[in-house]
């Protein structure tokens, strides 16, 4: 009980920090079954992992076509680390699951962005020239991950190595989506997570509400890098 209360307090502190513009610290909980947990966003392994609630704002429009106010206001982030790799679960409220991709409808989505070199002076707005970002993207239409990279507005492209896994489930007015990647990737443009022993990695989040026609740069994002930490 005491541990749970402490976690709740921790989560509350992190929420306040994130709202104040300070980066949220997301601590990855050690769990040997991280690889298995990713396949199921409702796996019991996630229950005891503390959530960091990160506030989101409408992204700066990078192009005149991008107009509107994004719906999602926050995303709860959990992370698990195991010998196999790193798993991150994102949970956010959405009035309805938009998983159909038809001519007049857009699918819900979520993404995690990393500066490839792990440095926080790379812009979190899709990176810049020579300062690439690696993006793990999931949308409800495919219900699978897409491993992407960018070096500025409008440059997003698929990486040749697709070694990120993702799976989402919608229930009770919420999406829960898990991402998983092994610590090491053969993809040179992928984020370098190194290993399970110790590390920290800046990361940023984005959420798209398909019912609000959100796609591309029309999204709710963290305006600053947050911090994912794992260690002993």
């Amino acid at each position: 009980m005491r541990a749970q209360a402490a976690l709740a307090l921790l989560a509350a502190t992190l929420t306040t920090a994130a709202l104040a513009g300070e980066p949220a610290v997301i601590r990855a909980t050690r769990n040997v079954g991280a690889a298995a947990a990713v396949a199921d966003p409702d796996h019991p392994a996630w229950e005891d992992v503390p959530a960091s609630v990160v506030s989101l704002e409408t992204a700066f429009p990078g192009h005149p076509s991008i107009v509107g106010t994004a719906v999602a206001q926050q995303v709860a982030v959990k992370a698990l680390r195991g010998s196999a790799g790193l798993a991150i679960r994102l949970e956010w409220s959405d009035r309805m699951a938009d998983s159909a991709r038809t001519q007049d409808r857009f699918a819900d989505g979520v993404a995690i962005q990393f500066p490839r070199d792990g440095k926080t002076d790379t812009t979190p707005y899709m990176g810049g020239a020579g300062r690439t970002v690696n993006i793990w993207y999931w949308n409800a239409a495919r219900n699978a991950a897409e491993n992407l990279w960018a070096d500025g507005f409008g440059t997003l492209a698929r990486l040749p190595t697709q070694d990120v896994k993702a799976h989402g489930r919608y229930a009770d007015g919420k999406w829960r989506v898990t991402f998983f990647r092994a610590w090491r990737s053969s993809e040179p443009r992928a984020v370098k997570l190194r290993d399970a022993s110790a590390g920290r990695q800046p990361l940023a989040f984005a959420v798209w509400d398909g019912a609000n026609n959100e796609r591309d740069g029309f999204k709710a994002v963290t305006l600053n890098w947050q911090s994912l930490q794992w260690g002993k």
Binding site: H63, S65, R101, T102, Q103, G154, R215, D216
Partner: protein, 334 residues
């Protein structure tokens, strides 16, 4: 802006609405893979809401000053494109009783939905056919609307293409096109449109829609080719006009506006006023309509008198091959 511009002229006085162009295009490019609902080329009856439904009211294009895109909306799947109906084949064909073959769900719209409907009251009803395809605009709103630079206009012929590697299906282009001639492929997750048959054009073969037109209604040539039909009909004779030029995209498919027979008065006598109101044609093809129709009437009269008319000979197109001039400048052939 490209160095050269390939243009098409469609003579609406010769279009019989047979949809051979539509099928020529469909069987070549869009008969599978999430494109089943797409019509890169189609023929609609005017006046009418067209395809996708109400495309003329769906926004897009440029503000009058030409520096800002006008907002546009995405056509809706069921209401504007229409979902093809499933039929009760099992009940009608294989079960006992007399069940008529019927759609299982009522269709709301589709291509050619209002064929030959037109406007006006008997005996003065009227309609004409309007074939439509991507206009390969000189100032494409779709290109400007894409945040990913996935759309480009080819230097050598002005053909506007969507790079399928760069497109991520955001559909800003679909909303920005005032002609709603870009379609989202839900299977591929990308937007697609008429490619002006560039693989054919590169071999000197006309577009499928133009080449197969049984009415010899479509001419194709480069706009700077003074011997070509496009230059002669657009710039010299000024009888070929762009569709909805007010959107500011400078479309490169031009139309020879339709002449129509006289209306009848209450006593059944011809009034001399054409059935298709000039105002309606001006709303489609801009202020050049009056002069274009006048030129056409004058040249028809000359031909009727047995005099020579270069314009009529050009529009009649005695030799099919004369309608197309696709030869490229030396060194530009890929």
């Amino acid at each position: 802006m490209s160095t050269r511009q390939l243009a098409m002229v469609i003579d609406l006085n010769k279009c019989i609405g047979c949809q051979t162009c539509t099928l020529a295009c469909k069987s070549q490019w869009t008969d599978r893979g999430g494109r089943e609902f797409m019509y890169w080329n189609h023929v609609e009856s005017k006046p009418g809401e067209g395809y996708p439904r109400d495309w003329e009211q769906a926004g897009g294009g440029w503000e009058p000053a030409g520096d800002k895109l006008k907002p546009g909306r995405l056509p809706r799947l069921a209401e504007d494109y229409g979902i093809p109906a499933d039929f009760n084949y099992d009940a009608a064909l294989f079960q006992e009783g007399e069940q008529p073959l019927r759609p299982t769900e009522a269709m709301q719209w589709g291509p050619n939905w209002e064929e030959d409907q037109g406007a006006g009251e008997f005996p003065n009803g009227y309609f004409f056919y309007l074939p439509r395809l991507c206009n390969h605009c000189t100032k494409p709103a779709c290109l400007a609307a894409c945040p990913r630079q996935a759309i480009s206009k080819r230097e050598e012929d002005g053909i506007v293409l969507i790079d399928q590697e760069r497109c991520r299906g955001y559909r800003y282009c679909v909303a920005a096109c005032p002609y709603k001639k870009i379609y989202f492929n839900p299977l591929a997750g990308r937007s697609e449109k008429c490619i002006f048959c560039y693989p054919r054009v590169e071999k000197g073969i006309p577009q499928a829609c133009a080449y197969q037109c049984v009415g010899r209604a479509r001419h194709v040539s480069y706009l700077d080719d003074k011997a070509g039909a496009a230059y002669r009909l657009v710039h010299e004779w000024k009888v070929a006009l762009p569709l909805h030029p007010e959107h500011g995209t400078q479309p490169n498919v031009y139309y020879v506006p339709p002449l129509s027979t006289s209306t009848f008065d209450a006593n059944g006598k011809p009034t001399g006023t054409p059935r298709i109101p000039d105002d309606y044609l001006v709303s489609l093809f801009g202020p050049g309509v009056g002069a274009a129709l006048e030129t056409l009437r004058r040249e028809i009269a000359r031909k009727e008198q047995g005099e020579a008319s270069e314009l009529m000979d050009l529009l009649i197109a005695y030799r099919h091959g004369d309608m197309f001039r696709l030869d490229r400048i030396e060194g530009q052939r890929p």
